[in-house]
Protein backbone atom coordinates (compact mmCIF):
# COMPACT_ATOMS: atom_id res chain seq x y z
CA UNK A 1 0.00 0.00 0.00
CA UNK A 2 1.24 3.47 -0.74
CA UNK A 3 2.40 5.38 2.29
CA UNK A 4 -0.10 8.19 1.92
CA UNK A 5 -2.98 5.73 1.66
CA UNK A 6 -1.70 3.82 4.66
CA UNK A 7 -1.46 7.06 6.56
CA UNK A 8 -4.93 8.28 5.74
CA UNK A 9 -6.35 4.86 6.59
CA UNK A 10 -4.61 4.83 9.95
CA UNK A 11 -5.54 8.45 10.56
CA UNK A 12 -9.18 7.69 9.94
CA UNK A 13 -9.32 4.94 12.55
CA UNK A 14 -10.61 5.59 16.02
CA UNK A 15 -7.61 4.88 18.16
CA UNK A 16 -7.45 3.86 21.77
CA UNK A 17 -4.94 5.98 23.57
CA UNK A 18 -1.48 4.44 23.63
CA UNK A 19 -2.09 1.67 21.14
CA UNK A 20 0.68 0.48 18.88
CA UNK A 21 -1.23 1.81 15.91
CA UNK A 22 -0.78 5.39 17.02
CA UNK A 23 2.92 4.64 17.29
CA UNK A 24 2.91 3.54 13.67
CA UNK A 25 0.91 6.60 12.69
CA UNK A 26 3.45 8.84 14.33
CA UNK A 27 6.31 7.04 12.63
CA UNK A 28 4.70 7.29 9.21
CA UNK A 29 3.75 10.92 9.67
CA UNK A 30 7.29 11.68 10.71
CA UNK A 31 8.63 9.95 7.61
CA UNK A 32 6.16 11.69 5.36
CA UNK A 33 7.04 15.11 6.77
CA UNK A 34 10.62 14.39 5.87
CA UNK A 35 9.70 13.86 2.26
CA UNK A 36 8.36 17.40 2.00
CA UNK A 37 7.89 17.35 -1.75
CA UNK A 38 8.48 14.70 -4.37
CA UNK A 39 12.12 14.53 -5.51
CA UNK A 40 12.78 16.02 -8.92
CA UNK A 41 14.61 14.24 -11.74
CA UNK A 42 17.76 16.17 -10.78
CA UNK A 43 17.48 15.13 -7.15
CA UNK A 44 16.96 11.51 -8.16
CA UNK A 45 20.06 11.58 -10.34
CA UNK A 46 22.04 13.20 -7.53
CA UNK A 47 21.12 10.24 -5.32
CA UNK A 48 22.25 7.86 -8.07
CA UNK A 49 25.60 9.64 -8.14
CA UNK A 50 25.96 9.82 -4.37
CA UNK A 51 24.94 6.18 -3.97
CA UNK A 52 27.83 5.26 -6.27
CA UNK A 53 30.29 7.88 -5.00
CA UNK A 54 33.80 6.44 -4.87
CA UNK A 55 34.29 7.73 -1.32
CA UNK A 56 30.94 6.54 0.00
CA UNK A 57 31.31 4.39 3.12
CA UNK A 58 30.97 0.69 2.39
CA UNK A 59 29.73 -2.12 4.63
CA UNK A 60 33.06 -2.68 6.37
CA UNK A 61 33.42 1.06 7.04
CA UNK A 62 30.14 0.90 8.93
CA UNK A 63 31.02 -2.40 10.58
CA UNK A 64 34.12 -0.96 12.23
CA UNK A 65 32.16 2.07 13.45
CA UNK A 66 28.97 0.32 14.58
CA UNK A 67 29.90 -3.17 15.79
CA UNK A 68 32.33 -4.24 18.52
CA UNK A 69 34.45 -7.41 18.48
CA UNK A 70 33.59 -8.05 14.85
CA UNK A 71 34.62 -11.48 13.64
CA UNK A 72 34.29 -12.23 9.96
CA UNK A 73 32.90 -15.59 8.87
CA UNK A 74 34.30 -16.94 5.61
CA UNK A 75 33.12 -19.50 3.12
CA UNK A 76 29.88 -21.12 2.01
CA UNK A 77 30.97 -24.56 3.29
CA UNK A 78 30.42 -25.84 -0.22
CA UNK A 79 33.03 -24.59 -2.58
CA UNK A 80 34.23 -21.01 -2.09
CA UNK A 81 34.44 -17.80 -0.12
CA UNK A 82 32.92 -14.86 -1.98
CA UNK A 83 34.61 -11.58 -1.00
CA UNK A 84 31.78 -9.56 -2.58
CA UNK A 85 29.53 -10.50 0.33
CA UNK A 86 30.88 -10.41 3.88
CA UNK A 87 29.32 -12.14 6.85
CA UNK A 88 30.27 -12.01 10.50
CA UNK A 89 29.44 -11.75 14.17
CA UNK A 90 29.64 -8.54 16.14
CA UNK A 91 28.36 -6.69 19.17
CA UNK A 92 25.75 -3.99 18.73
CA UNK A 93 26.08 -2.27 22.09
CA UNK A 94 25.78 -5.31 24.40
CA UNK A 95 24.04 -7.69 22.04
CA UNK A 96 25.56 -10.11 19.56
CA UNK A 97 24.21 -9.74 16.05
CA UNK A 98 24.95 -11.36 12.71
CA UNK A 99 25.99 -9.12 9.84
CA UNK A 100 25.58 -9.85 6.13
CA UNK A 101 26.62 -7.20 3.64
CA UNK A 102 27.88 -6.54 0.15
CA UNK A 103 31.37 -5.11 0.00
CA UNK A 104 32.70 -3.04 -2.90
CA UNK A 105 36.40 -2.36 -3.14
CA UNK A 106 38.05 1.00 -2.52
CA UNK A 107 41.02 0.79 -4.89
CA UNK A 108 41.42 -1.09 -8.14
CA UNK A 109 43.04 -4.10 -6.53
CA UNK A 110 40.34 -4.46 -3.89
CA UNK A 111 37.58 -3.74 -6.37
CA UNK A 112 38.79 -6.62 -8.48
CA UNK A 113 39.04 -8.89 -5.44
CA UNK A 114 35.54 -7.88 -4.30
CA UNK A 115 34.20 -8.08 -7.86
CA UNK A 116 32.76 -4.57 -7.41
CA UNK A 117 30.32 -5.93 -4.83
CA UNK A 118 28.70 -8.32 -7.32
CA UNK A 119 28.21 -11.65 -5.59
CA UNK A 120 28.32 -15.13 -7.02
CA UNK A 121 25.86 -17.79 -5.83
CA UNK A 122 28.57 -18.78 -3.34
CA UNK A 123 28.11 -15.37 -1.71
CA UNK A 124 24.39 -15.91 -1.22
CA UNK A 125 25.05 -19.42 0.10
CA UNK A 126 27.49 -17.94 2.61
CA UNK A 127 24.78 -15.42 3.56
CA UNK A 128 22.28 -18.26 4.08
CA UNK A 129 24.78 -20.03 6.30
CA UNK A 130 25.10 -16.86 8.41
CA UNK A 131 21.30 -16.51 8.55
CA UNK A 132 20.95 -20.08 9.80
CA UNK A 133 23.57 -19.36 12.43
CA UNK A 134 21.66 -16.26 13.56
CA UNK A 135 18.45 -18.23 13.86
CA UNK A 136 20.13 -21.06 15.76
CA UNK A 137 21.47 -18.72 18.42
CA UNK A 138 18.75 -16.08 18.49
CA UNK A 139 21.00 -13.30 17.18
CA UNK A 140 19.27 -10.47 15.28
CA UNK A 141 20.30 -10.28 11.63
CA UNK A 142 21.51 -6.98 10.17
CA UNK A 143 22.12 -6.81 6.43
CA UNK A 144 23.77 -4.03 4.43
CA UNK A 145 22.93 -3.73 0.77
CA UNK A 146 25.37 -2.12 -1.65
CA UNK A 147 25.64 -3.87 -5.00
CA UNK A 148 25.18 -3.03 -8.67
CA UNK A 149 23.58 -6.47 -8.89
CA UNK A 150 24.37 -10.16 -8.69
CA UNK A 151 27.27 -11.02 -10.98
CA UNK A 152 26.19 -11.86 -14.53
CA UNK A 153 28.85 -14.40 -15.51
CA UNK A 154 29.05 -17.85 -17.04
CA UNK A 155 30.29 -19.53 -13.84
CA UNK A 156 27.74 -17.64 -11.75
CA UNK A 157 24.97 -19.05 -13.94
CA UNK A 158 26.45 -22.53 -13.88
CA UNK A 159 26.58 -22.39 -10.09
CA UNK A 160 22.91 -21.43 -9.92
CA UNK A 161 22.63 -17.66 -9.49
CA UNK A 162 18.85 -17.48 -9.89
CA UNK A 163 18.17 -20.33 -7.49
CA UNK A 164 20.61 -18.96 -4.91
CA UNK A 165 18.88 -15.56 -4.93
CA UNK A 166 15.48 -17.21 -4.60
CA UNK A 167 16.59 -19.45 -1.74
CA UNK A 168 18.26 -16.61 0.11
CA UNK A 169 14.97 -14.69 0.10
CA UNK A 170 13.15 -17.80 1.28
CA UNK A 171 15.67 -18.22 4.09
CA UNK A 172 15.00 -14.65 5.22
CA UNK A 173 11.24 -15.18 5.06
CA UNK A 174 11.66 -18.14 7.43
CA UNK A 175 13.85 -16.56 10.14
CA UNK A 176 12.54 -16.34 13.69
CA UNK A 177 14.97 -13.63 14.79
CA UNK A 178 14.46 -9.90 14.19
CA UNK A 179 15.86 -8.80 10.84
CA UNK A 180 16.91 -5.34 9.66
CA UNK A 181 18.05 -4.60 6.11
CA UNK A 182 19.90 -1.34 5.40
CA UNK A 183 20.32 -0.11 1.84
CA UNK A 184 23.55 1.90 2.13
CA UNK A 185 24.45 2.53 -1.51
CA UNK A 186 23.24 0.73 -4.59
CA UNK A 187 20.34 -1.65 -4.07
CA UNK A 188 20.72 -3.36 -7.42
CA UNK A 189 17.89 -5.71 -8.36
CA UNK A 190 17.84 -9.40 -7.45
CA UNK A 191 21.34 -9.28 -6.03
CA UNK A 192 20.10 -6.72 -3.50
CA UNK A 193 16.71 -8.16 -2.57
CA UNK A 194 18.35 -11.55 -2.01
CA UNK A 195 19.55 -10.22 1.37
CA UNK A 196 16.88 -7.55 1.96
CA UNK A 197 13.73 -9.49 2.94
CA UNK A 198 13.48 -8.10 6.46
CA UNK A 199 11.16 -6.98 9.25
CA UNK A 200 12.41 -3.46 8.78
CA UNK A 201 14.08 -2.14 5.64
CA UNK A 202 15.98 1.12 6.07
CA UNK A 203 17.41 3.22 3.29
CA UNK A 204 20.00 5.89 3.65
CA UNK A 205 18.83 9.21 2.28
CA UNK A 206 21.01 9.09 -0.84
CA UNK A 207 20.99 5.38 -1.53
CA UNK A 208 19.02 3.86 -4.40
CA UNK A 209 16.97 0.66 -4.68
CA UNK A 210 15.85 -0.49 -8.08
CA UNK A 211 14.70 -3.28 -10.33
CA UNK A 212 17.46 -2.58 -12.87
CA UNK A 213 20.35 -0.13 -13.21
CA UNK A 214 19.53 3.20 -14.89
CA UNK A 215 21.97 2.25 -17.67
CA UNK A 216 20.40 -1.18 -18.13
CA UNK A 217 16.90 0.25 -18.27
CA UNK A 218 17.97 2.95 -20.72
CA UNK A 219 19.69 0.40 -22.95
CA UNK A 220 16.53 -1.69 -23.18
CA UNK A 221 13.71 0.86 -23.24
CA UNK A 222 15.48 3.86 -24.78
CA UNK A 223 17.92 1.65 -26.70
CA UNK A 224 20.72 3.92 -25.48
CA UNK A 225 22.55 3.47 -22.18
CA UNK A 226 23.39 7.18 -22.26
CA UNK A 227 19.74 7.92 -21.44
CA UNK A 228 20.31 6.67 -17.90
CA UNK A 229 19.13 9.96 -16.35
CA UNK A 230 15.79 9.70 -18.11
CA UNK A 231 15.47 6.08 -17.05
CA UNK A 232 16.22 6.90 -13.40
CA UNK A 233 13.67 9.73 -13.46
CA UNK A 234 11.11 7.28 -14.84
CA UNK A 235 11.61 4.35 -12.45
CA UNK A 236 12.40 6.46 -9.38
CA UNK A 237 14.96 4.45 -7.39
CA UNK A 238 15.40 7.10 -4.66
CA UNK A 239 14.62 6.55 -0.98
CA UNK A 240 11.68 8.96 -0.88
CA UNK A 241 9.85 7.12 -3.65
CA UNK A 242 10.64 3.72 -2.14
CA UNK A 243 9.12 4.91 1.15
CA UNK A 244 6.12 6.36 -0.62
CA UNK A 245 5.52 3.03 -2.38
CA UNK A 246 5.70 1.12 0.89
CA UNK A 247 8.83 -0.78 -0.15
CA UNK A 248 10.95 0.42 2.76
CA UNK A 249 10.06 1.26 6.35
CA UNK A 250 12.25 4.27 7.09
CA UNK A 251 14.79 6.66 5.65
CA UNK A 252 18.03 7.19 7.54
CA UNK A 253 19.44 10.70 7.26
CA UNK A 254 22.96 11.30 5.96
CA UNK A 255 25.37 14.09 6.87
CA UNK A 256 25.09 17.27 4.79
CA UNK A 257 26.39 16.56 1.28
CA UNK A 258 26.17 12.77 1.62
CA UNK A 259 27.55 9.92 3.73
CA UNK A 260 31.05 10.28 2.25
CA UNK A 261 31.42 13.77 3.76
CA UNK A 262 31.54 12.33 7.28
CA UNK A 263 31.64 8.56 7.67
CA UNK A 264 31.55 8.74 11.48
CA UNK A 265 28.42 10.86 11.48
CA UNK A 266 26.83 8.64 8.82
CA UNK A 267 27.61 5.56 10.90
CA UNK A 268 26.15 7.14 14.05
CA UNK A 269 22.92 7.93 12.20
CA UNK A 270 22.76 4.43 10.72
CA UNK A 271 23.37 2.84 14.11
CA UNK A 272 20.57 4.91 15.59
CA UNK A 273 18.27 3.79 12.79
CA UNK A 274 19.12 0.15 13.42
CA UNK A 275 18.60 0.48 17.19
CA UNK A 276 15.26 2.20 16.72
CA UNK A 277 14.11 -0.51 14.32
CA UNK A 278 15.21 -3.28 16.68
CA UNK A 279 13.36 -1.59 19.53
CA UNK A 280 10.16 -1.57 17.48
CA UNK A 281 10.52 -5.32 16.92
CA UNK A 282 11.37 -6.11 20.49
CA UNK A 283 8.73 -7.97 22.46
CA UNK A 284 7.00 -9.42 19.42
CA UNK A 285 6.53 -13.16 19.49
CA UNK A 286 8.87 -14.68 16.84
CA UNK A 287 6.00 -16.35 14.98
CA UNK A 288 4.06 -13.08 14.95
CA UNK A 289 7.11 -11.18 13.75
CA UNK A 290 7.54 -13.63 10.90
CA UNK A 291 3.84 -13.43 10.08
CA UNK A 292 4.02 -9.64 9.90
CA UNK A 293 7.17 -9.79 7.76
CA UNK A 294 5.48 -12.03 5.21
CA UNK A 295 2.27 -10.02 5.31
CA UNK A 296 4.25 -6.86 4.56
CA UNK A 297 5.70 -8.35 1.37
CA UNK A 298 2.41 -10.02 0.50
CA UNK A 299 0.79 -6.57 0.35
CA UNK A 300 3.38 -4.98 -1.95
CA UNK A 301 2.24 -3.89 -5.37
CA UNK A 302 -0.42 -1.72 -6.94
CA UNK A 303 -3.39 -3.33 -8.66
CA UNK A 304 -6.29 -2.32 -10.84
CA UNK A 305 -9.34 -4.25 -11.95
CA UNK A 306 -10.84 -4.83 -15.38
Amino acid sequence: MRLRERLSKLGGMKLLRGTKLSGELERLQDQLDRLRSEPTAEEIWRSVELARHQDRPYTLDYVERIFGEFFELHGDRGRADDPALVTGLGKLDDNTVVLVGHQKGRDLKERTKRNFGMAYPEGYRKAMRAMALADRHGFPLITMIDTPGAYPGVAAEQHGQGGAIARSQAAMARLSVPTIACVIGEGGSGGAVAVAVADRVLMQEHSIYSVISPEGCAAILWRDAAEARKAAAAFKPDAAHCLELGVIDAIVAEPEGGAHMDADAAAALLKQGILTALEELDGLDPAERRRQRRAKYRAMGVLASA
Binding site: A150, A166, G190, V211, M300, L303
Partner: protein, 282 residues
Protein backbone atom coordinates in the same frame (compact mmCIF):
# COMPACT_ATOMS: atom_id res chain seq x y z
CA UNK B 1 18.32 -28.03 -31.86
CA UNK B 2 19.66 -24.59 -32.57
CA UNK B 3 21.45 -23.01 -29.65
CA UNK B 4 21.90 -19.81 -31.59
CA UNK B 5 18.26 -19.13 -32.35
CA UNK B 6 17.04 -20.20 -28.96
CA UNK B 7 19.14 -17.85 -26.86
CA UNK B 8 18.35 -14.78 -28.91
CA UNK B 9 15.83 -13.42 -26.46
CA UNK B 10 15.37 -9.80 -25.61
CA UNK B 11 14.96 -10.03 -21.88
CA UNK B 12 12.38 -7.86 -20.15
CA UNK B 13 11.09 -6.09 -23.20
CA UNK B 14 8.88 -6.82 -26.10
CA UNK B 15 9.28 -4.38 -28.91
CA UNK B 16 6.63 -3.89 -31.54
CA UNK B 17 8.98 -4.61 -34.43
CA UNK B 18 10.15 -7.80 -32.77
CA UNK B 19 6.72 -9.15 -32.04
CA UNK B 20 5.63 -8.57 -35.62
CA UNK B 21 8.84 -10.15 -36.89
CA UNK B 22 8.15 -13.07 -34.56
CA UNK B 23 4.67 -13.47 -35.97
CA UNK B 24 5.87 -13.63 -39.56
CA UNK B 25 8.08 -16.60 -38.76
CA UNK B 26 6.08 -18.04 -35.88
CA UNK B 27 5.59 -21.43 -37.54
CA UNK B 28 9.00 -21.75 -39.14
CA UNK B 29 11.22 -23.97 -37.06
CA UNK B 30 14.40 -22.17 -35.96
CA UNK B 31 15.96 -25.59 -35.44
CA UNK B 32 15.58 -27.10 -38.91
CA UNK B 33 13.79 -24.51 -41.05
CA UNK B 34 10.67 -26.64 -41.58
CA UNK B 35 7.45 -24.69 -41.91
CA UNK B 36 4.11 -25.76 -40.51
CA UNK B 37 0.48 -24.79 -40.55
CA UNK B 38 -1.14 -23.96 -37.22
CA UNK B 39 -3.17 -27.19 -37.18
CA UNK B 40 -0.09 -29.31 -37.83
CA UNK B 41 1.76 -27.77 -34.90
CA UNK B 42 -1.30 -27.93 -32.66
CA UNK B 43 -1.42 -31.70 -33.21
CA UNK B 44 2.16 -32.11 -32.00
CA UNK B 45 1.68 -29.72 -29.01
CA UNK B 46 3.76 -27.22 -31.00
CA UNK B 47 6.83 -29.44 -31.10
CA UNK B 48 8.64 -29.73 -34.44
CA UNK B 49 8.07 -33.29 -35.80
CA UNK B 50 11.41 -33.08 -37.64
CA UNK B 51 13.84 -31.88 -34.99
CA UNK B 52 11.83 -31.75 -31.73
CA UNK B 53 12.26 -27.99 -31.37
CA UNK B 54 9.73 -26.72 -28.82
CA UNK B 55 7.81 -23.73 -30.20
CA UNK B 56 6.37 -21.20 -27.73
CA UNK B 57 2.94 -21.99 -26.31
CA UNK B 58 0.37 -19.45 -25.18
CA UNK B 59 -0.95 -19.72 -21.64
CA UNK B 60 -4.40 -20.79 -22.89
CA UNK B 61 -2.94 -23.51 -25.12
CA UNK B 62 -0.71 -24.67 -22.28
CA UNK B 63 -3.68 -25.05 -19.97
CA UNK B 64 -5.51 -27.04 -22.65
CA UNK B 65 -2.47 -29.27 -23.19
CA UNK B 66 -2.12 -30.07 -19.50
CA UNK B 67 -5.52 -30.36 -17.85
CA UNK B 68 -8.44 -32.77 -18.06
CA UNK B 69 -10.90 -31.34 -20.61
CA UNK B 70 -13.37 -28.97 -19.01
CA UNK B 71 -11.71 -29.07 -15.60
CA UNK B 72 -10.09 -25.62 -15.67
CA UNK B 73 -11.81 -22.86 -13.71
CA UNK B 74 -9.98 -19.58 -14.02
CA UNK B 75 -9.44 -17.40 -10.96
CA UNK B 76 -8.58 -13.71 -10.55
CA UNK B 77 -8.89 -12.98 -14.28
CA UNK B 78 -10.23 -9.49 -13.49
CA UNK B 79 -6.88 -8.22 -12.14
CA UNK B 80 -5.11 -5.60 -14.24
CA UNK B 81 -1.87 -3.68 -13.85
CA UNK B 82 -2.01 -0.15 -12.53
CA UNK B 83 0.65 2.37 -13.45
CA UNK B 84 2.08 3.30 -10.04
CA UNK B 85 4.98 5.34 -11.41
CA UNK B 86 3.22 7.00 -14.33
CA UNK B 87 5.93 5.29 -16.35
CA UNK B 88 6.76 6.67 -19.73
CA UNK B 89 9.73 5.64 -21.86
CA UNK B 90 9.36 5.93 -25.59
CA UNK B 91 5.67 5.12 -25.00
CA UNK B 92 3.44 5.15 -21.92
CA UNK B 93 3.26 1.92 -19.92
CA UNK B 94 -0.56 2.05 -20.05
CA UNK B 95 -0.38 1.93 -23.85
CA UNK B 96 1.93 -1.08 -23.80
CA UNK B 97 -0.49 -2.82 -21.41
CA UNK B 98 -3.52 -2.11 -23.57
CA UNK B 99 -1.69 -3.34 -26.64
CA UNK B 100 -0.58 -6.53 -24.91
CA UNK B 101 -4.14 -7.23 -23.78
CA UNK B 102 -5.46 -6.83 -27.32
CA UNK B 103 -2.67 -8.97 -28.76
CA UNK B 104 -2.97 -11.85 -26.28
CA UNK B 105 -6.53 -11.62 -25.00
CA UNK B 106 -5.09 -11.82 -21.48
CA UNK B 107 -5.33 -9.37 -18.59
CA UNK B 108 -1.67 -9.85 -17.73
CA UNK B 109 1.20 -12.29 -18.17
CA UNK B 110 -0.13 -15.15 -16.02
CA UNK B 111 -3.30 -17.26 -16.09
CA UNK B 112 -4.33 -18.95 -12.84
CA UNK B 113 -7.05 -21.34 -11.83
CA UNK B 114 -8.23 -24.66 -10.46
CA UNK B 115 -7.81 -27.77 -12.58
CA UNK B 116 -7.45 -31.52 -12.61
CA UNK B 117 -4.67 -33.48 -14.31
CA UNK B 118 -5.54 -37.16 -14.75
CA UNK B 119 -8.18 -36.62 -12.05
CA UNK B 120 -5.67 -35.17 -9.59
CA UNK B 121 -6.84 -31.80 -8.33
CA UNK B 122 -4.39 -28.89 -8.37
CA UNK B 123 -4.04 -25.19 -8.91
CA UNK B 124 -2.29 -23.87 -12.02
CA UNK B 125 -0.30 -20.69 -12.66
CA UNK B 126 0.74 -20.48 -16.30
CA UNK B 127 2.71 -17.60 -17.75
CA UNK B 128 2.46 -16.21 -21.28
CA UNK B 129 5.62 -14.79 -22.81
CA UNK B 130 3.60 -12.93 -25.42
CA UNK B 131 2.29 -10.53 -22.77
CA UNK B 132 5.11 -8.01 -22.43
CA UNK B 133 7.78 -10.69 -22.48
CA UNK B 134 6.12 -12.54 -19.63
CA UNK B 135 7.40 -9.84 -17.32
CA UNK B 136 6.42 -9.93 -13.65
CA UNK B 137 4.80 -6.84 -12.20
CA UNK B 138 2.28 -6.40 -9.39
CA UNK B 139 -0.42 -8.45 -11.12
CA UNK B 140 1.74 -11.48 -11.87
CA UNK B 141 3.03 -11.41 -8.28
CA UNK B 142 -0.47 -11.02 -6.86
CA UNK B 143 -2.00 -13.75 -8.99
CA UNK B 144 0.81 -16.14 -8.15
CA UNK B 145 0.44 -15.37 -4.43
CA UNK B 146 -3.33 -15.90 -4.65
CA UNK B 147 -2.75 -19.19 -6.48
CA UNK B 148 -0.55 -20.28 -3.56
CA UNK B 149 -3.30 -19.34 -1.12
CA UNK B 150 -5.96 -21.04 -3.20
CA UNK B 151 -3.88 -24.24 -3.38
CA UNK B 152 -3.23 -24.12 0.36
CA UNK B 153 -6.92 -23.62 1.13
CA UNK B 154 -7.86 -26.56 -1.09
CA UNK B 155 -4.98 -28.69 0.20
CA UNK B 156 -3.73 -29.40 -3.32
CA UNK B 157 -0.38 -28.79 -5.05
CA UNK B 158 0.30 -25.74 -7.17
CA UNK B 159 1.66 -26.37 -10.66
CA UNK B 160 3.56 -23.40 -12.06
CA UNK B 161 4.56 -23.09 -15.71
CA UNK B 162 6.95 -20.16 -16.15
CA UNK B 163 7.91 -18.21 -19.27
CA UNK B 164 9.36 -14.83 -18.46
CA UNK B 165 11.98 -12.26 -19.32
CA UNK B 166 12.08 -11.15 -15.68
CA UNK B 167 10.74 -8.30 -13.60
CA UNK B 168 8.68 -5.62 -15.37
CA UNK B 169 10.82 -2.48 -15.48
CA UNK B 170 7.82 -0.22 -15.97
CA UNK B 171 6.72 -0.91 -12.40
CA UNK B 172 10.15 -0.07 -10.99
CA UNK B 173 10.95 -1.19 -7.47
CA UNK B 174 7.45 -2.64 -7.00
CA UNK B 175 8.27 -5.17 -9.71
CA UNK B 176 11.36 -6.19 -7.77
CA UNK B 177 9.22 -6.59 -4.67
CA UNK B 178 7.20 -9.27 -6.42
CA UNK B 179 10.21 -11.55 -5.92
CA UNK B 180 9.97 -11.59 -2.09
CA UNK B 181 6.18 -11.46 -2.37
CA UNK B 182 5.98 -14.71 -4.32
CA UNK B 183 8.73 -16.25 -2.19
CA UNK B 184 6.78 -15.45 1.01
CA UNK B 185 3.62 -16.92 -0.55
CA UNK B 186 5.49 -20.16 -1.27
CA UNK B 187 6.68 -20.31 2.34
CA UNK B 188 3.05 -20.16 3.46
CA UNK B 189 2.06 -22.75 0.84
CA UNK B 190 4.74 -25.10 2.07
CA UNK B 191 3.77 -24.58 5.70
CA UNK B 192 0.20 -25.54 4.79
CA UNK B 193 1.57 -28.86 3.56
CA UNK B 194 1.02 -28.31 -0.15
CA UNK B 195 3.68 -28.78 -2.80
CA UNK B 196 4.89 -26.53 -5.60
CA UNK B 197 5.71 -28.20 -8.91
CA UNK B 198 7.64 -25.79 -11.09
CA UNK B 199 7.99 -26.14 -14.85
CA UNK B 200 10.41 -23.84 -16.65
CA UNK B 201 9.78 -23.15 -20.31
CA UNK B 202 11.69 -21.08 -22.83
CA UNK B 203 12.69 -18.57 -21.62
CA UNK B 204 12.60 -18.28 -17.82
CA UNK B 205 15.07 -15.62 -16.81
CA UNK B 206 15.73 -12.76 -14.41
CA UNK B 207 13.37 -12.13 -11.53
CA UNK B 208 11.06 -15.08 -12.11
CA UNK B 209 13.99 -17.52 -12.10
CA UNK B 210 15.35 -15.67 -9.04
CA UNK B 211 12.09 -16.19 -7.16
CA UNK B 212 9.23 -18.61 -7.47
CA UNK B 213 10.31 -20.63 -10.51
CA UNK B 214 13.38 -21.91 -8.65
CA UNK B 215 11.56 -22.84 -5.46
CA UNK B 216 9.56 -25.85 -6.62
CA UNK B 217 9.66 -29.00 -4.53
CA UNK B 218 10.30 -30.46 -7.95
CA UNK B 219 11.74 -28.35 -10.78
CA UNK B 220 11.26 -29.47 -14.38
CA UNK B 221 12.16 -27.82 -17.68
CA UNK B 222 11.33 -28.28 -21.31
CA UNK B 223 14.18 -29.26 -23.64
CA UNK B 224 16.19 -26.30 -24.90
CA UNK B 225 14.59 -23.81 -22.50
CA UNK B 226 16.82 -20.89 -21.59
CA UNK B 227 16.88 -20.53 -17.83
CA UNK B 228 19.42 -18.00 -16.67
CA UNK B 229 19.39 -15.15 -14.19
CA UNK B 230 21.25 -12.85 -16.57
CA UNK B 231 20.52 -13.16 -20.27
CA UNK B 232 23.26 -14.31 -22.66
CA UNK B 233 23.67 -10.83 -24.13
CA UNK B 234 24.18 -9.21 -20.76
CA UNK B 235 26.70 -11.85 -19.76
CA UNK B 236 28.58 -11.53 -23.04
CA UNK B 237 28.68 -7.75 -22.86
CA UNK B 238 29.58 -7.53 -19.17
CA UNK B 239 32.23 -10.21 -19.02
CA UNK B 240 33.44 -10.42 -22.62
CA UNK B 241 33.60 -14.15 -21.97
CA UNK B 242 32.96 -16.58 -24.76
CA UNK B 243 29.70 -18.26 -23.84
CA UNK B 244 29.42 -22.03 -24.04
CA UNK B 245 27.01 -23.21 -26.76
CA UNK B 246 24.58 -24.48 -24.16
CA UNK B 247 24.82 -21.38 -21.96
CA UNK B 248 21.88 -21.19 -19.58
CA UNK B 249 19.93 -23.91 -21.35
CA UNK B 250 17.96 -26.57 -19.50
CA UNK B 251 20.53 -29.18 -20.55
CA UNK B 252 23.36 -27.22 -18.94
CA UNK B 253 21.30 -26.52 -15.82
CA UNK B 254 20.48 -30.21 -15.51
CA UNK B 255 24.17 -31.08 -15.71
CA UNK B 256 24.99 -28.55 -12.98
CA UNK B 257 22.29 -29.86 -10.67
CA UNK B 258 19.64 -27.14 -10.89
CA UNK B 259 16.86 -29.29 -12.37
CA UNK B 260 15.20 -32.57 -11.44
CA UNK B 261 14.34 -33.50 -15.00
CA UNK B 262 14.07 -32.26 -18.56
CA UNK B 263 10.65 -33.27 -19.78
CA UNK B 264 9.65 -33.15 -23.47
CA UNK B 265 6.30 -31.44 -23.92
CA UNK B 266 4.49 -34.63 -24.87
CA UNK B 267 5.42 -36.18 -21.53
CA UNK B 268 4.63 -33.17 -19.40
CA UNK B 269 1.00 -34.01 -18.61
CA UNK B 270 1.66 -37.63 -17.51
CA UNK B 271 4.77 -36.51 -15.60
CA UNK B 272 2.84 -33.86 -13.68
CA UNK B 273 0.04 -36.36 -13.03
CA UNK B 274 2.56 -38.81 -11.56
CA UNK B 275 4.01 -36.11 -9.32
CA UNK B 276 0.55 -35.00 -8.22
CA UNK B 277 -0.18 -38.60 -7.22
CA UNK B 278 3.12 -38.80 -5.35
CA UNK B 279 2.41 -35.60 -3.43
CA UNK B 280 -1.27 -36.39 -2.96
CA UNK B 281 -2.56 -37.43 0.41
CA UNK B 282 -4.04 -40.87 -0.09
Amino acid sequence: MSGQGRVDVEVESKRPDESSRGKAHANTCPGCGSHYRDEELAQTLRVCPQCAHHFPVTARDRVDQLVDPGSFVEEDSELRSADPLGFFDLRPYTERLAEAEVATGLGDAVVCGAAAIEDEGCRLAVMDFAFMGGSMGSVVGEKFARACESAAAAGVPLVSVAASGGARMQEGILALMQLPKTVCAIEELHESGSALLSVLTHPTTGGVLASYASLGDVVLAEPGALMSFAGPRVVAQTTREKLPDDFGLAESNYRFGHLDAIVPRGELRPTLARLLRLFGKA
